[in-house]
């Protein structure tokens, strides 16, 4: 096992900067998600770490050893592709055996290791099947077994769950996490699914236009996003824009919003505040100000979406829509057109420099 250090990595295709000075430290044994919209450079970064493509500049080290000019076949990494890329002309066992066999391992050793890998992914009895006889989830497991049987230093996953349906995807998330813990391999995982990134990884790197926007544990990025993009791409966020007061912002209508976290900015500059929809309390506007939370906004419910265990309210105020998510505990249900008072704490408010 080994950690991966990416330093100042850049790669351009023609005029397009696919990766622009990206540095990330992937700790040994960690589960790391690279999250970003399509074209953000996350797959390019994965292919650079894999060795399918070489950088224009910068450094990649696996276990402290520089590998940025080492081709993929010499990097000792394992990859799981989105379409699994199982060899159609080979049985499941031969697929898994491939990496050991090209190294010239003894037949008995190969058979042993293959069986152990197949047992690990709970496909111990299906070794003689052909890939086309397996379900999507089973193919996924074979691809994983094939990638880890060679004891690679790093496991790279390229949207590995993208082709599975939702129920199976949740199962595989748990399964993947279990296997990763069991063998303790450094895992880098590309996804555009924020939920997957949140639930599975120890750390997340958010990419946009070839740059690393923010990097850290899921809770940290969710609770203290450093940009509007990070706030809205990972989870849902209401963005309120105004001028800084030093500890918060003043909205165009004069209302002040206090923020408990985020950057410190010189008063008077443009800035915004991000608030998660589930942190906002919504109540019928009774004319008496609610004193529980410091941040208060009046508005009118324009739309309500009922989703069983929760409801989403869209509240209009001063030509802005604010989204509020409320658990349906049965206490009160607001109707469309209702005048409401929104309140939330400064601790739930993140101050972000204007981008």
């Amino acid at each position: 096992m080994a950690g991966v250090q990416v330093s100042n990595l850049s790669r351009s295709f023609g005029a397009h900067k696919a990766l622009d000075d990206v540095s990330i430290d992937f700790a040994d044994g960690g589960f790391y998600a690279l999250l970003g919209p399509s074209g953000s450079g996350k797959t390019t970064l994965l292919r650079q770490i894999a060795g399918f493509d070489f950088p224009d500049s910068g450094r990649i080290a696996i276990g402290g050893e520089s590998v940025e000019r080492v081709p993929v076949e010499k990097r000792r990494i394992g990859i799981v592709f989105q379409n699994y890329a199982l060899f159609p002309n080979m049985s499941v066992a031969d697929n898994v055996a491939f990496g050991l066999s090209v190294r010239g391992e003894a037949k008995a050793v190969i058979a042993d290791e293959v069986q152990r890998a197949l047992d690990l992914v709970q496909l111990g009895k299906l070794g003689s099947r052909r890939p086309h006889q397996l379900s999507g989830g089973q193919r996924q497991r074979v691809a994983l077994a094939r990638a880890i049987v060679t004891k690679p230093r790093v496991l790279l996953l390229d949207e590995p769950l993208g082709a599975l349906d939702k129920a199976l995807r949740v199962d595989m998330q748990i399964e993947l996490k279990r296997i990763q813990r069991e063998i303790g391999i450094t895992t880098i995982f590309v996804t555009h699914d924020q939920e997957e990134a949140l639930t599975m990884s120890d750390r997340i790197g958010i990419l946009r236009d070839g740059r690393l926007v923010q990097e850290g544990p899921p809770e940290e990025i969710y609770d203290s996003p450093k940009s509007e993009f990070a706030a809205t791409f990972l989870g849902d966020a209401n963005i309120l824009r105004g001028d800084t007061t030093g500890t918060g912002i003043r909205l165009p209508d004069g209302t002040t919003i206090a923020a408990g976290a985020g950057v410190s900015l010189a008063a008077g500059t443009k800035a915004s505040c991000a608030v998660r929809p589930e942190r906002i309390r919504i109540a019928i506007d009774a004319g008496v100000p609610d004193q529980t939370y410091a941040n208060l906004l009046k508005g009118q419910v324009s739309k309500r979406i009922f989703a069983g265990n929760n409801s989403t309210y869209f509240v209009e105020r001063d030509s802005q829509t604010i989204k509020v998510i409320v658990q349906n505990t049965g206490i009160e249900r607001l109707v469309e057109g209702q005048d409401v008072m929104l309140s939330w704490s400064p601790e739930s408010t993140v101050l972000i420099a204007a981008s």
Binding site: E73, G78, F87, F98, V102, A147, T150
Partner: protein, 262 residues
């Protein structure tokens, strides 16, 4: 119900007429190769004397051997070169690739008569002249585009991730090609090889231009024999060729499933 039955019946009739159109002349020729009369006279009397006579006809035997040798060598050379070229076109992007690919197709459409003339002039120009070597080179040139087209078509259905996956597992270029890519394109390689064999073995026009009286192929020899005077030996040798080539085609269709279906 009645109309569907009539339509079904008409469909069957159509298929049988089609098969008759394709095979009747061949069947008649094959029957005549077993008939005593050299002048197609009936009633039919069974004999194998023409086949026996065939073994005595050294010119035909030697031409057959030439044809087979040239067809086999043409197949091997054009399959190896053509598959390698297809892989290169599939794997790499290089300057002028589009032009090169576009230029591969026209030779298939150029009439063989013209290709033959051009080759004759060229081979005399470079000092190769006429003979078996010239025929072989000509056949390889004719067969190569077929192999490249068929193998490239097969490669279109190949997922590049398979090669990437193999490389990530530590396989070098040769191991990737031999264990992952070749098994996938093998039906295309076989089909391309059959095309190459057929192009060479059936080739008359180009062979006619490039052969000399001693060094000739079977189709040219048959043509020469017919001009001198028809013998049922020609029927016999043709029947053997048909049986062998049909067996080859059926074998290929059975085992390599090209041309759709399961």
């Amino acid at each position: 119900m009645a109309t569907t039955r009539i339509l079904e019946w008409l469909g069957r009739l159509y298929i049988w007429l089609l098969l008759a159109f394709l095979y009747l002349p061949i069947i008649i020729m094959a029957l005549m190769s077993f008939n005593v009369s050299p002048f197609y006279q009936l009633p039919f009397e069974w004999t194998t004397e023409w086949y026996a006579a065939l073994w005595q006809n050294e010119q035909l035997i030697s031409a057959t051997r030439n044809s087979l040798e040239i067809a086999i060598i043409t197949t091997i050379i054009s399959v190896v070169l053509g598959s390698a070229a297809s892989l290169a076109l599939f794997r790499y992007d290089f300057r002028g690739k589009k032009i090169l690919q576009a230029l591969l197709f026209p030779p298939i459409a150029i009439p063989w008569l013209i290709t033959g003339t051009a080759m004759l002039i060229f081979f005399f120009g470079v000092g190769i002249g006429r003979g078996l070597l010239a025929i072989l080179l000509g056949h390889v040139a004719l067969a190569l585009p077929y192999v490249i087209v068929v193998v490239s078509a097969r490669l279109q259905t190949f997922a590049p991730e398979l090669e990437e996956a193999a490389r990530s597992l530590g396989a070098n270029q040769w191991q990737v090609t031999r264990r992952v890519t070749l098994p996938w394109i093998m039906p295309g390689v076989i089909a391309g090889g059959l095309f190459a064999f057929a192009v060479s073995f059936d080739q008359f026009v180009v062979s006619y231009f490039l052969s000399t009286p001693g060094q000739t192929t079977l189709p040219v020899e048959i043509y020469a024999a017919i001009r001198k005077g028809f013998t049922p030996e020609i029927n016999a040798v043709s029947t053997i060729i048909i049986v062998v080539s049909m067996a080859l085609m059926l074998f290929a269709a059975r085992f390599f499933k090209f041309g759709g279906g399961k």
